[in-house]
């Protein structure tokens, strides 16, 4: 039971929750039951059916409504006298500035993407407000505590970047199913149903360039008066037949690789059969259109044969043109779009078949293509409990007792929850320690625009940057800028760095700031002529910004867009130990102050971007020092905590 001190600290506290999803629902409930009386909660999402297996504050009837608002209403039903303020908004909005954050005693994150977490991290640093971070994926989870100056900030330890694949692997030499998914989703689907003006790498580059008289554009367009059946087969034959033959003509590529085989629709589905396809759609609404239903394929967990996949491919394509014509030309892949998922699954499977890669079910393909994170209620409940425990310590400024806690899938040395002392801030962290970064770039070729997009926004996570050299502002974003400045900045974007009004050259130091995040850092520029197209496709190399290693050979499906955990993976390496051996439990807790404990090779699950599928970083950690102090903690001399009759 909480002590009197704890109870009054809780009662007085003003708490900000960011995220009202899996962790958020559990956390709001636990905060309310623990006696917190003033809670603010930000979430931009609306409720979906797939949330309902764990976001228990929501009901079927709430689908489509604001998570923050519905969560608040649900909790008020069992704690009517507390104050919960919901914001159906993006935490990156300008109103959630440093002054807003300063109002709170602690910030609790229950987010599902790296971008927002970094943003909140910077605001908490700027406002000097403690941050309790968390994440879950399946059975894994973790809770971490961040206090400016005392512990690492969220960005002190690099978080792995989302996994991306070399273009040629996707277009020419896939070796894994995920490569086929990326091809089907980002190339074929985009080409057929997405924005026609977008660049698309779909056509294989062959050594025989001057061959075809057809422009690639024409191939994918449905011709006037062309039968949809014909069109479908034409596309099929082009991407699975013709393109493969063209790729095969380049002998070099296949010297050390298994050759793909071209597949033509007439060999898989003799003409007559497709005409028998499909139960009539019975006038179903455009949204419900499904090739699986049409073909009576009932189970999304089944792995379809090449024939079935081909049927789905043709049928899905047909249904798009017949029932969803108006969507064509502006569709992006959406994992909740059944027909899109069916099409991508089928296309990926046919390609996989061609390359000798094992086929996958729609269920599996959807997970990969949609970057779906697997999730259960219990892990979120555990993590929420741990968040509240840490939050209470924070409110009491109980500095020696903050813990980073990792929730494992399997016990390690009989422990399922692994508490670890936080580290001191990383002195090289460019976010909290103001260490300068270095950028190698060709200052004569690189435009300011590329610098802004690829470095400032993508890598450094700034949303509204201000870029200066000395006293000269090269670029800024803002609402109250003068007209002529806006013109100058727009012009600057198109200029090479060396041609800017304040020229950038080797030795230049740029200061980059995001006023909203109140985050500033300096970048030392070094000119370099050449960059490797494959390894450094951006033509820029940023250092001092440490990126965690990405495991190239990983087969496991992904991390993602949705939810994220930076938990330690299950400790398979430790299971071989003899757990029966008795460990000395009397290790005295070292005072937190000043001691940095090294966890060797902490590995983390990726929290990637929406831009592509990603993989789990599987570096296996070496032995961890188990924090055995917990036995001591439990046996407090305070028997009152045990026996006191609970009061409301």
């Amino acid at each position: 039971m909480a002590s009197q001190e704890q109870l009054s600290a809780i009662k007085r506290a003003k708490v900000l929750m960011v995220g009202a999803g899996g962790i958020g629902c559990e956390l709001l409930k636990t905060l309310a039951l623990s006696g917190f009386q003033d809670i603010h909660i930000i979430d931009m999402d609306t409720i979906e059916v797939s949330n309902l297996n764990r976001q228990f504050l929501f009901r079927q009837s709430h689908v489509g409504q604001s998570k923050a608002k519905v969560a608040r209403d649900a909790v008020l039903r069992f704690r009517p006298n507390i104050s919960i303020t919901p914001y159906h908004a993006n935490v990156k909005e300008s109103r959630f500035n440093v002054d807003f954050f300063k109002e709170f005693d602690v910030v609790l994150n229950g987010l599902d993407n790296l971008d927002a977490r970094r943003h909140v991290n910077r605001l908490c640093l700027a406002a000097d407000i403690p941050l309790v971070e968390s994440g879950t994926t399946g059975f894994l989870g973790q809770v971490t505590v961040h206090l400016k100056g005392k512990t690492e900030c969220y960005e002190c330890q690099p978080k792995p970047a989302p996994k991306t694949y070399p273009v040629c692997t996707i277009t020419s030499t896939p070796s894994k199913f995920v490569h086929c998914i990326v091809w089907a989703k980002d190339l074929l689907f985009a080409k057929l149903f997405g924005d026609k003006n977008q660049e698309n790498d779909l056509n294989v580059r062959s050594s025989d360039t001057a061959n075809s008289s057809e422009h690639s554009e024409d191939v994918f367009e449905c011709r006037k008066d062309e039968d949809i059946e014909r069109y479908g087969r034409r596309i099929y034959d082009h991407v699975f037949g013709h393109n493969i033959e063209v790729a095969l003509s380049n002998e070099e590529t296949w010297k050390n690789r298994n050759k793909p085989r071209p597949i033509y629709s007439k060999d898989v589905l003799p003409e007559e059969q497709t005409k028998e396809n499909g139960n009539e759609e019975k006038g179903c609404a455009a949204d419900d259109v499904s090739a699986m239903v049409s073909l009576s394929l009932k189970n999304p967990q089944d792995i379809w044969s090449l024939v079935e996949n081909s049927r789905v491919f043709l049928e899905a394509l047909r249904l798009f043109f017949l029932k969803r014509e108006k969507d064509i030309g502006n569709l992006t892949f959406d994992k909740d779009d059944q027909l899109a998922v069916e099409f991508v699954t089928a296309a990926a499977n046919i390609r996989a078949s061609s390359f000798g890669i094992p086929l996958h079910s729609l269920f599996e393909a959807k997970g990969i293509a949609g970057n779906i994170v697997h999730a259960v209620a219990t892990t979120n409940a555990i993590i929420a409990g741990l968040i509240v425990i840490e939050a209470i310590k924070v409110l009491q400024k109980d500095n020696n007792n903050y813990r980073m806690t990792y929730c494992l899938e399997h016990p390690s040395r009989k422990l399922l929850l692994m508490p670890v002392e936080p580290y001191e801030p990383n002195r090289s962290c460019y976010v909290c320690s103001e260490t300068p970064l270095s950028l190698e770039v060709n200052t004569q070729r690189c435009k300011l625009r590329d610098f802004v997009e690829k470095i400032i926004k993508a890598k450094l996570g700034m949303n509204f940057p201000l870029i200066m050299q000395g006293a000269s502002i090269l670029y800024e974003v803002g609402e109250d800028l003068e007209e002529d400045m806006v013109v100058i900045y727009a012009a600057n974007l198109e200029k090479a760095l060396s041609e800017l009004p304040s020229p950038v050259a080797s030795g230049s130091v740029l200061t980059v700031e995001d006023l909203q995040q109140e985050f500033s850092c300096s970048i030392n520029i070094k000119h370099r002529e050449e960059f490797d197209e494959e390894k450094e496709p951006d033509g820029m190399l940023l250092s001092g910004w440490v990126e965690a290693p990405v495991d190239k050979d990983n087969n496991k499906p992904i991390g993602n867009d949705e939810s994220t955990s930076n938990a330690l993976p299950s400790m398979e390496t430790l299971e071989g130990e003899k757990d029966d051996e008795i460990q000395e439990t009397s290790e005295v807790v070292e005072a937190f102050s000043g001691k940095k404990r090294k966890l060797s090779e902490v590995s983390e699950v990726t929290a990637p971007d929406p831009s592509g599928p990603s993989s789990i970083n599987q570096n296996k950690p070496e032995k961890l020092d188990i924090d055995d102090e917990d036995d001591e903690l439990i046996i407090s001399d305070d028997w009152e905590s045990f026996t006191k009759k609970k009061k409301l």
Binding site: N53, F78, H374, V376, A377, D631, F642, K645, K646
Partner: protein
């Protein structure tokens, strides 16, 4: 519900968790029946989780009338006069739990669980009891163990910020993946009575001191005829005295 396959509704709702434990486990869950006795904090959490997960049914036992105090740490009870006036804990929790998942059958069973015959327990795949006396725990555990079918038995007790859970899966066979192989394993679980009868001296050194503390309180409540969880600060001298006695007894050969 469809014969063997998951329905479309189930697939849509359970998508994220099927990706954790697989469709087969989900199917087995949907056919399981759980008995829960003692509707307090941890058990309320458990019920929420198991209902969300999509078990076949949950049967609640708790004839205690809802009071203001029941509201603490139990979010299944809504503090409206009309909502709980005169109702039992099981009844109120049942109403709330039904809302979490319409596909789960949630029901109430009245009466003293220790008087139910062995056949009653046979209906279930798992039994969870809380807020029960030492005697009751032993008794129900024994009844479950008498059945030819395996009925998993769990007890959970929370006191302040400490808690304890006991698990009895009887003769339990499972598979374990080690690197590339799958190993068949087996554990024989002791009964609750057997487990707590192990002399303290014989226990591994790493056993949490909380285990012993729980045994002391348990004994105290048993000897003094208290309801579980009703030991107060005023009892401290008595509890400490008992602790001393138990330590001395258990340290001897």
């Amino acid at each position: 519900m469809d014969g063997e396959e998951l329905t479309e509704q189930e697939t849509a709702l359970y998508d994220r968790q099927i990706r954790v434990w697989g469709a087969d486990a989900q199917r087995r869950l949907s056919k399981s029946h759980i008995l829960v006795c003692g509707m307090k904090g941890t058990v309320a959490e458990f019920c929420k989780n198991i209902v969300l997960a999509g078990v076949g049914s949950v049967t609640l036992v708790d004839d205690r009338i809802v009071t203001d105090e029941s509201l603490s740490a139990n979010f299944l009870i809504l503090p409206h006069e009309n909502h709980y006036n005169g109702k039992t804990l099981a009844e109120v929790c049942c109403d709330s739990l039904k809302e979490f998942n319409h596909m789960v059958h949630v029901a109430v069973e009245t009466g003293d669980i220790s008087t139910f015959g062995v056949e009653f327990f046979e209906k279930f795949d798992a039994v969870i009891i809380s807020c029960c006396s030492l005697g009751k725990k032993k008794l129900i555990n024994q009844k479950c163990r008498k059945l030819s079918k395996r009925v998993a038995f769990y007890t959970v007790e929370c006191r302040g910020s400490c808690g304890e859970m006991f698990v009895d899966l009887l003769d339990y066979k499972y598979s374990k993946k080690k690197l590339e192989e799958t190993i068949e394993c087996q554990i024989e679980y002791p009964s609750f009575e057997e487990a707590i009868s192990v002399p303290w001296r014989a226990l591994p050194r790493r056993v949490s001191k909380l285990y012993f503390a729980m045994r002391v309180i348990e004994q105290f409540e048993d000897v003094e005829g208290r309801n579980p969880g009703e030991t107060t600060i005023a009892d401290l001298p008595g509890v400490l005295k008992l602790r001393k006695e138990l330590c001395e007894t258990n340290v001897q050969y």
